[in-house]
Symmetry: C2
Subunit: 493 residues, 2 copies
């Protein structure tokens, strides 16, 4: 692979092309032969695995357990909850037959018309219906509650326009589905999980998020309330990064799931569901990366440190190898993941740009002079700076440096978001400002009509009604009617 092949379109020139180039060239994912479905390549998958592991730990710490429910959902189940079917029926993959056969007329493999299913099956776009049909058998009494279950799974939504990670027909996600005895407990769970997502986004992805409610028209199909975390990408567009839904008793009623409470009274069960998906990969990429490639937060980097030897002959390489062995052991003892790339068929310069492209947080280079002086060159991916440091105690320096990088990219993202967030008070101003991108905090009268008008005229949507921040009432920028608080507008992915 020649170096020029690696060059990315710059963000300034074409942000969307930059993203596409980066996903492909950093070996994260690619389009497959199946329309809208992606192949997640090993390097991309290694990042996703880090995310999964961390999220899974956080779910378990908050008392959840994993389980697995069927991929297929009987068609009739989807219809049980009226809003839910409205939201998902139009974009689902439908299994109608269970066998192929050789065409007796010689046209190769055809669907066997005799193997038609009595009831069609839908490939799950989300699992509320199949799960609540199962919970019906698990729940009789308040003693069976709460149920705190999560599943890691693939889901399919037949999207017309797809983009790697951001919107794909099949994607990977986790979906939590909990059942509770009271409304209060279910709401507390919904809030707990959006907070887990916010913590994960900020502490691990180094991505600041705004937490809030969705407006009614942006709610999950079947939810009474949807909480969301919204992040701002470098092109000024918002990206919804995780949602947690308070489902009320909607699914319990649809599937007749009742329990006997402590007073012996029969009640419908209260529900929540919450999920994040491989879309987070897109969010991660677009939050931090630059025209040289990926910038990964150390906490999610498949390897945090790469070491590149600089040598002129085999003898020098042997000496560097020896030295690196010691450093690697000391770094690993501190829990730092390290890759040593002493492949002989690539030049150091090629390796430098390769690991820049792949976003490895810290690069060490060791050459003959370093061996003489007992030094090492330390390069940071986030700032693209480098310095030569004494070898002794370098592992502790790097441990600290990784924390510093994690903090620095978070701070950079926070600063960027702050610079792109502003209050706007008139609709004229809004129309002008929205063209510049970013988060706009505005008064809105709370009606779906005004919301729809704004979307129609400006392509901006209400990202959320923030939970924190200024709660001063005001007047809707469009209609002048009363507004309870400013809400967050943006154009979004």
């Amino acid at each position: 692979m020649a170096k020029e092949l690696k060059e990315l379109t710059s963000r300034a020139k074409d942000y969307s092309q930059w993203y596409q180039d980066l996903v492909i060239k950093a070996d994260l994912a690619e389009n497959s032969a199946v329309r809208g479905c992606m192949v997640i390549k090993p390097y991309g998958f290694a990042i996703w695995e880090k995310m999964q592991r961390q999220l899974d730990d956080m779910f378990k710490e908050t008392g959840h357990v994993n389980a697995y429910f069927p991929l297929f959902i009987p068609k009739s189940y989807l219809s049980r909850e009226a809003d839910h079917v409205e939201g998902f029926a139009k974009e689902c993959a439908v299994v109608t037959h269970y066998r192929l056969k050789n065409d007796p007329e010689g046209n190769g493999l055809i669907v066997d018309p005799e193997a038609k299913l009595e009831e069609e099956l839908v490939v799950r776009p989300t699992s509320e219906t199949i799960i609540w049909s199962t919970y019906k058998n698990w729940i009789q009494s308040y003693r069976d509650l709460p149920i705190l279950v999560n599943q890691w799974a693939n889901v399919v939504r037949w999207e017309m326009r797809t983009r790697l990670f951001l919107r794909t027909t099949e994607f990977l996600w986790q979906e939590g589905h909990t059942a509770h005895a009271t409304r209060e407990e279910a709401i507390a769970e919904t809030e707990q999980m959006i907070n887990v997502y916010a913590e994960f986004a900020e502490k691990y992805m180094a991505m600041p998020v705004v937490t809030g409610f969705k407006s009614e028209s942006e709610r999950f199909a079947g939810a009474e309330e949807t909480y969301t975390i919204e992040a701002l990408m470098q092109d000024g567009k918002a990206l919804q990064s995780g949602t947690s839904h308070f489902l009320g008793q909607n699914f319990a009623k649809a599937f007749d799931v009742q329990f006997t409470d402590q007073n012996g009274k029969l009640e419908y069960v209260w529900a929540t569901s919450w999920g994040v998906s491989t879309r987070l990969m897109g969010a991660l990429i677009m939050s931090h990366s630059d025209d040289n490639g990926l910038v990964l937060p150390p906490k999610l980097a498949p390897y945090q440190v790469v070491i590149v030897p600089i040598y002129r002959n085999e003898e020098q390489l042997q000496k560097v190898n020896e030295k690196v062995k010691g450093i690697t052991e000391r770094l690993k003892a501190l829990g730092i993941s390290v890759k040593y790339d002493n492949a002989d068929n690539k030049k150091p310069g090629w390796k430098f740009s390769e690991y820049e492209l792949k976003g490895v947080p810290v690069r060490l280079a060791i050459g003959a002079r370093d061996l003489e002086n007992n030094t090492v060159e330390v390069a940071r991916r986030d700032t693209l700076t480098k310095e030569t440091l004494p070898m002794d105690g370098i592992e502790n320096h790097i441990k600290q440096l990784l924390d510093e990088i994690q903090e620095n990219i978070y701070k950079k993202a926070v600063d960027f978001r702050e610079s792109q967030t502003r209050e706007v008070n008139s609709y004229d101003e809004f129309k002008e400002e929205i063209e510049k991108g970013g988060f706009l905090l505005c008064h809105w009268d709370g009606t779906p009509e005004t919301e729809a008008l704004i979307k129609e005229e400006t392509k901006a949507t209400i990202r959320c009604i923030p939970l924190e921040g200024d709660k001063t009432p005001g007047k809707c920028m469009v209609t002048g009617k009363p507004s309870a608080q400013r809400v967050l507008f943006a154009r979004a992915y």
Copy 2:
């Protein structure tokens, strides 16, 4: 849940019903509303997660990385490899449409005839075809090889008769797909992975296996050689527990995947694939469990120790709680997972049988007298024995005990298998012996015809041609023709 509900059918009375009861009553899995698809419940999934984690570590230690490929396979891809399509076309779920709509005639939700796919998609029964169509773009030169990729995924094979874990329409598995520059390297990989499976089965599942080749008629559809590990269940039937396939250049040729070798010559790539599935859960259950419930090897138990308090009043419970806190901390410090069940709405006797049913390897009970004497009652699930021991240093005793239990259940399974394995020299004897179950080592002339005759007449199949053991040639028990070595026969799941 009353105690009597928990009682299992005994193995002697009805082995198959015992298995079904156990899977349901130990909360491992249940049938879903979708024919042939199971719900894996949290306790069952926790065991599967332990298996996954260990296998994943072993794959990574042997140089593999994870990736993810699409759920759907274009119909035409299946046909590319002649044997492969023969093996899978007859049992696959076919997606023909991508949208539902409301019937204008008021019959509810129907498949939208306008949303018919140009080419039908098959839900993957296995991923060789979609993966090799992808590898075509990844491989140009010998420098791109080997590719050592694994994926954890769900697959669907439309089975007519299903049984929880053992044979389900949808199941979870991992599938490794590797690409190599030489035949020798691919064969070495195939062998390495069957050895990884054998090691996992024996060291972690405590389940002895026979490693060998499949006969031609039992090979994976598209393979040149299939290696298998075969385990013997307590009812004397064999269970194929993992397979590793040397695929030759079949898929490279089907998808035109060629590479330039070190001499500049264009060659087809050599392939392997290998997999184990949630079927291993069935193997685990049937290897060790008894009429009281599950028996889990400590290395795969979701919790290795359960502690039950015995008390007459709140004051006593408080004291036991205090004591347990210390023990739990000391056990955890040794890496032992512990559950303390001090729920007040269940009696100790109920808890004892519950954890017996769930196969927890060690149970501790602590009562008032134990507090006085500074002792604890230690019960082993594998032997159903118990003894009262001094509290001091109990954590070290338990650590050792867990190792002992792991070894003991392995040894028990080995002894059982040895008692059920015998050499048989005539077909008459074979017909008699096969009725008793177990592994029969017999001479076979190597022809599919003789193999088919034996299967037809006795329902026994060749489980494998063992890699180890007696290699003395002989004469086929059916035809008297020459036989290279004894092969392993059994009736199988």
